[in-house]
Amino acid sequence: MTHTGARPKSGLATVIGLLWRDKFAFCAALFLLVVIGCALIGPLLLEDAATKQNLRGRNAPPFDMERDWEFFFGADALGRPLLVRIIVAAQNTMMIAAGAVFFSALIGSTLGLAAGWLKGRASQVILRLGDVIMSFPSLLLAVIVLYMLDPSVFNIIIVLAITRIPVYLRTARAEVLEVRERMFVQAARVMGASDLRIVFRHILPVVLPTLLTIATLDFAFVMLAESSLSFLGIGIQPPEITWGLMVAQGRPYLTNAWWLSFWPGLAIILTTLSLNLLSNWMRIALDPVQRWRLEMGGRKND
């Protein structure tokens, strides 16, 4: 069958159109935009409200219509409004996850591309490096960072980034090994294209969607990991705040003030869920071969 059609009008319009086909992914994208919004401007606007202690309102229960909107989710042990704190904590949580994913994706993918293209000694060394990192317990690394350097946001980012490098490395390498055998790569070699041109112009665009999809999933994983570390007490330290830390801080009050841990945990779940949904959508939308599933919403027989 021949399709005759000019290229679609604008990239953004297409993306929104494809997103709309998958309602879940659309909602997920909206939710993430809200979260990002909170992360960007939350602390700017609400920093004071988040830290203002109100010892009379300690552990105030949620859904109390009498009080201000800030106390809709209740208040924590020091009387600080939970809703506001969650909004403000979004920044650290997002920043750490985003930073870790960015660095690990960049370094891991580059190493993976190299390992896949080069073959031979260099490739083996890079693979072994990935193996060693994979067997390294991330906890130990976190503790060392905590005791050696100061447990700042930046250091946590580095720790998490290092532990995730092997994921991108292995995937990038496997993809490169497969793509390099394809005919259009051979055609480029026959034309005399240099290695650099082939890797960046031909191989990378094919590998990128997979890496992006994995990065989205990984974002969720890193968020959970950071939350766990904070929960165990070896991640972010007060007065910095993240959602994971909020859950940890609410643990002693579980029986009488469940909302202290519940809301931040819910925030984590919803964000992670949105990322998963978006990642599922990306896997289909970014693959020109699979894209028809979104364009027609069903299965096709040929």
Binding site: R128, D131, V132, S135, F136, P137, S138, L139, L140, L141, V143, I144, Y147, M148, A220, L224, S227, S228, F231, L232, I234, G244, V247, R251, L254, T255, W258, S261, F262, G265, I268, I269, T272, L273, L275, N276, L277, N280, G298, R299
Partner: protein
């Protein structure tokens, strides 16, 4: 086949060596354990004695050399905190985690395979949508939060199950359930994706043309072909539990290797930390080997 195992053993050994070196030196960097084990007002003399006994005064390289020599005869030294051989402490903890991991992964595998395959059979159908929905939520939830909520609901409020400890089989229900959720969500997704591909393959078309019924098509023709990518993920998840079911073990008071490792790290009990890492790494190496062998078992085209 033997050559294959041999090559893998060597490759893993190199990684292991690198790991040991890194961990040894880095763990020493976290500070002197003396301060943790002796009371604050202990005399300098007491401190010196402590250091002397535990060999902490010698230069780092010497300590390392001694350690390697001991390793060669499988002597991991003593746990500073517990005054027992480190390896015993570690193996005890490891046994608990191993049980936890096995029970959980068995349940996960069975449930994910059956549900994922059925979901893939009618893509987009009601069953598929429900299964996908729950699996996505499952894959997104932080285990510590679920654990907390579960304790509050089931242990405190409803009083159906104990809050922590390891006495009876009921003590296992909550930890296993909590550990079950995330891997189940992830593996269900992988099974579903893989089976969708398999069920639209050419040889399944042949099976339909032969008049084979639906159940054998899914579970005989399809399943074995769809398992290969799934096995990799199962291995990863199992490794994850073996290495770090820390949170669950901590919350439920399960004396597993995750809890042991973090306690030892915080208490600077070096020998236990190192022994625990060695045991974990070895377990992971064995599991990866098992997975590769499973590949060969499943797919006759793969032969070492």
């Amino acid at each position: 086949m033997k050559k294959f195992i041999g090559k893998r053993a060597i490759a893993s050994a190199i990684s292991l060596v690198g790991l040991v070196i890194l961990v040894f030196f880095l763990s020493r960097l976290t500070g002197d354990p003396t301060d943790l084990y002796l009371p604050v007002d202990a005399s300098m003399q007491a401190r010196e004695q402590f250091r002397e006994i535990n060999g902490l005064n010698d230069p780092l390289m010497v300590q390392f050399g001694r350690y390697v020599a001991d390793l060669a005869v499988l002597d991991f030294g003593n746990s500073i905190r517990r005054s027992r051989p480190a390896i015993d402490v570690v193996l005890e903890g490891f046994a608990w985690t191993l049980w936890l991991a096995c029970v959980t992964m068995l349940l996960v595998t069975f449930a994910a395979i059956v549900i994922g395959s059925l979901a893939a059979f009618r893509v987009g159908g009601v069953f598929d949508r429900i299964a996908t929905f729950f699996s996505l939520i499952g894959a997104s939830a932080p285990d510590f939060w679920i654990a907390i909520v579960a304790i509050v609901v089931f242990a405190v409020n409803l009083r159906w199950l104990p809050t922590s400890g390891t006495g009876t089989i009921w003590h296992w229900v909550l930890p296993v359930s909590v550990l079950f959720i995330r891997p189940f969500g992830l593996i269900l997704q992988v099974v579903r994706g893989s089976m969708i591909g398999v069920l639209s393959s050419a040889y399944v078309k042949t099976a339909r043309a032969k008049g084979v019924r639906n159940r054998p098509i899914i579970f005989v023709h399809g399943l074995r072909n769809g398992m290969l990518p799934v096995i990799t993920v199962i291995g990863d998840q199992a490794a994850g539990i073996l290495n770090g079911a820390v949170v669950v073990e901590t919350i439920f008071g399960f004396p597993g290797i995750g809890k042991l490792m973090i306690d030892s790290i915080l208490q600077r009990d070096f020998n236990v930390v190192l022994a625990a890492i060695m045991v974990s790494a070895l377990a992971i190496f064995l599991m990866n080997l098992l997975i590769d062998l499973a590949y060969a078992l499943l797919d006759p085209r793969i032969r070492y």
